[in-house]
């Protein structure tokens, strides 16, 4: 026990004396939250669009006005040449072209049915489908107004709306994307801090040769490991608290569930992350090697974790693979607790899984760690 205290004292001295460490601890959460939460949004506003109105009728103008009034679209150019619009689309100057062909109003009057063409830049599939959906909804609003106005059937290539769907969104009623992102960023933040700092710290001792000096002492393996892990465990938990505080101040992040429960889960989860860092450090001889190794693992874990895309929409094999991804557990649990207010019973299964994870990772790390040169 006394030995651990000596190690802790030394580690904290080194951490607080390190000129890059404190800025990392304080600035990284700040920057990640501000930039990523605001930038990595799936909401789309003001999609650049071009209008090719070859009909020039009052009906076509009304349809265009609908788009003009929508907050989702911003008309950057109006032209009569579909060729020019297509060129702009190809060259990326616009994301979406609305093409109204000649005879639009006439057909609408005679046949109660007319078509418009929507050209969507689908380089980014997600953006394309959202653009399409927004455009459809603008057109269908226009349709229903026309129906009311004429008392008849007027449709622009859209199925008659026979069922009114009224949606209500639970847990995040305003569909505020930031409330979804803040917890996700926090997971990444504490995981990176935990895994990277632990791995780097131990490998640095390998590089300077001090670890050899430790290895010729009678120190017990687990004393050394506990002494090495506790500082980063504390720092990562502090980061979580600091990040939650920032999320609250910057974005008004709601905390529906129990913070105590969140920190209970986080403290077990961090054992997995720190164990991972330790395990990586046993595989590497230099800080570069360990950085490369950690990047590989962390990026895979992060992208699979469901931070940007819901893990539920992954293919079945991906969801199975995610059972081995500790990040995915915390990603799910932190959102459940913060947004939904889930209680102990709801996360008990995840807590058990993550405890088993912790035992395995730490066990492997301790087993791999050798007091040898």
């Amino acid at each position: 026990m006394q030995t651990i205290l000596f190690i802790l004292q030394k580690e904290f001295l080194q951490i607080f004396r390190n000129k890059t460490m404190l800025p990392i601890i304080v600035l990284v959460p700040f920057i990640q939250l501000i930039i990523l939460v605001n930038a990595a949004t799936l909401e789309m506003k003001r999609i650049n669009m071009e209008v090719v109105d070859n009909d020039m009728s009052s009906s076509s103008r009304k349809l265009v006005d609908r788009f003009r009034a929508s907050p989702f679209f911003s008309i950057t150019r109006t032209t009569f040449s579909i060729k020019e619009a297509e060129k702009d689309l190809l060259e990326g100057r616009t994301g979406f072209v609305l093409h109204i062909m000649p005879g639009f109003e006439e057909k609408l009057g005679k046949e109660s049915k007319a078509s418009v063409q929507l050209l969507v830049d689908a380089v980014n599939g997600m953006t394309a489908s959202l653009t399409n959906a927004y455009a459809q909804s603008v057109i269908s609003d226009y349709n229903s107004d026309m129906v009311k106005a004429r008392g008849g059937n007027a449709f622009i290539s859209i199925m008659p709306k026979t069922i009114d769907i009224e949606s209500s969104y639970w847990y995040n009623p305003q569909l505020n994307f930031k409330y979804y992102m803040v917890p996700g960023i926090l997971v990444i933040l504490v995981s990176m801090i935990g895994a990277f700092l632990t791995a780097l710290n131990i490998v640095r001792e390998k590089e300077t040769g001090t670890i050899e000096q430790i290895n010729v002492t009678p120190i017990r393996k687990y004393h050394f490991i506990i002494g090495k892990l506790i500082p980063f465990w504390i720092i990562a938990l502090f980061e979580l608290a600091f990040g939650l505080f920032l999320g609250r101040i910057l974005f008004g992040m709601p905390v529906v569930g129990s913070l105590g429960l969140l920190f209970l889960f986080a403290s077990v989860y961090l054992l997995v992350v720190l164990g991972l860092g330790l395990l990586l450090s046993t595989m590497a001889q230099s800080q570069q090697q360990v950085m490369f190794l950690s990047f590989f693992f962390l990026i895979t874990f992060i992208l699979m974790s469901g931070i940007f895309t819901p893990a539920e929409s992954m293919p079945a094999w991906g969801q199975k693979a995610n059972l081995l991804n500790p990040f995915a557990y915390f990603m799910r649990v932190i959102r459940m607790i913060l947004l939904k207010g889930s209680g102990f019973k709801d996360i008990a299964g995840d807590l058990i899984s993550i405890t088993i994870f912790a035992a395995i990772t730490l066990g492997m790390a301790i087993w791999r760690y050798r007091k040898a040169a």
């Binding site: 205290l5 190690i7 004292q9 030394k10 004396r17 300077t208 001090t210 009678p218 040169a373």
Partner: protein, 244 residues
């Protein structure tokens, strides 16, 4: 402590790395209280041997006992009885002199009060009280070496291994370093030292000279000079190297 008897017993020690034989059937003993010089050219296998004796790595074969414990089964017991100073003299550059001493002493399990008292005595003895709170990175190399040695013997081991402790400093600093070594032997600590500097070999009670993984000569410096008709150990070393 200064009783006669073997503190290191090595019989047919072999260490192979794949096909390469780093230590080829080494056999030697080190007696309590002596300064044992372990010489050899670069790559002769000195560091490999030291690492085995310290319990940092396992030999491929051979019977080896250090401080009465077998290196196969008693490595952790050996570690309580030895001190070690490597070529890189592993002090933390971003800790102060005092903090380094405290950390290593703490790891050896010394109680805090004893550490404080012994640190004070040590700093006074080395006459470096003024730099007690200076970061190690800011002190000169010669002082770092002396400090590293003092840290290695801070817990009063029976035996200390020094792996090329005096690289890169001037002759005066080296001389002062050897004064520390003599002081330690005065307290009954056995010293096992490797070095490149043949003048330093003269300070040792007994010297072994390694080349290409084997021990080519082992005796007191006086006897070696006689045996090889040499004026100093440097000449002995060159003659042995030529014979191979």
């Amino acid at each position: 402590m200064n009783s006669a008897g073997k503190i290191i017993e090595v019989k047919d020690m072999v260490k192979k790395f794949g096909q390469f034989v780093a230590n080829d059937h080494l056999t030697f003993d080190v007696y309590r209280g002596e300064i044992f010089g372990f010489l050899g050219a670069n790559g002769a296998g000195k560091t490999t041997a030291i690492k085995i004796l310290c319990g940092l790595s396992l030999p491929t074969s051979g019977e080896i006992k250090v401080a009465g414990y077998d290196v196969y089964t008693g490595r952790e017991q050996i570690k309580t009885r030895i001190g070690y100073m490597s070529q890189k003299f592993s002090l933390y550059e971003d800790l102060t002199v005092k903090e380094n001493i405290r950390y290593y002493a703490g790891i050896y399990g010394l109680p805090r009060r004893e550490i404080n008292i012994k640190t004070k005595t040590l700093l006074e003895r080395l006459n470096i009280c003024n730099i007690a709170n200076t970061l190690v990175r800011e002190i000169p190399l010669g002082w770092k070496q002396k400090l590293a040695f003092s840290v290695a013997v801070f817990h009063d081991p029976e035996l200390v291994f020094l792996d090329e402790p005096t690289g890169g400093v001037d002759p005066i600093a080296r001389r002062q370093f050897w004064e520390l070594i003599y002081e330690a032997t005065g307290h009954g600590i056995t010293v096992f030292v490797t070095t490149h500097y043949m003048d330093e070999a003269e300070y040792c009670h007994r010297v072994s000279i390694m080349s290409e993984g084997k021990i080519s000569a082992l005796d007191t410096p006086e006897n070696l000079k006689k045996q090889y008709h040499a004026n100093d150990i440097n000449e002995v070393f060159v003659k042995i190297a030529r014979n191979n």
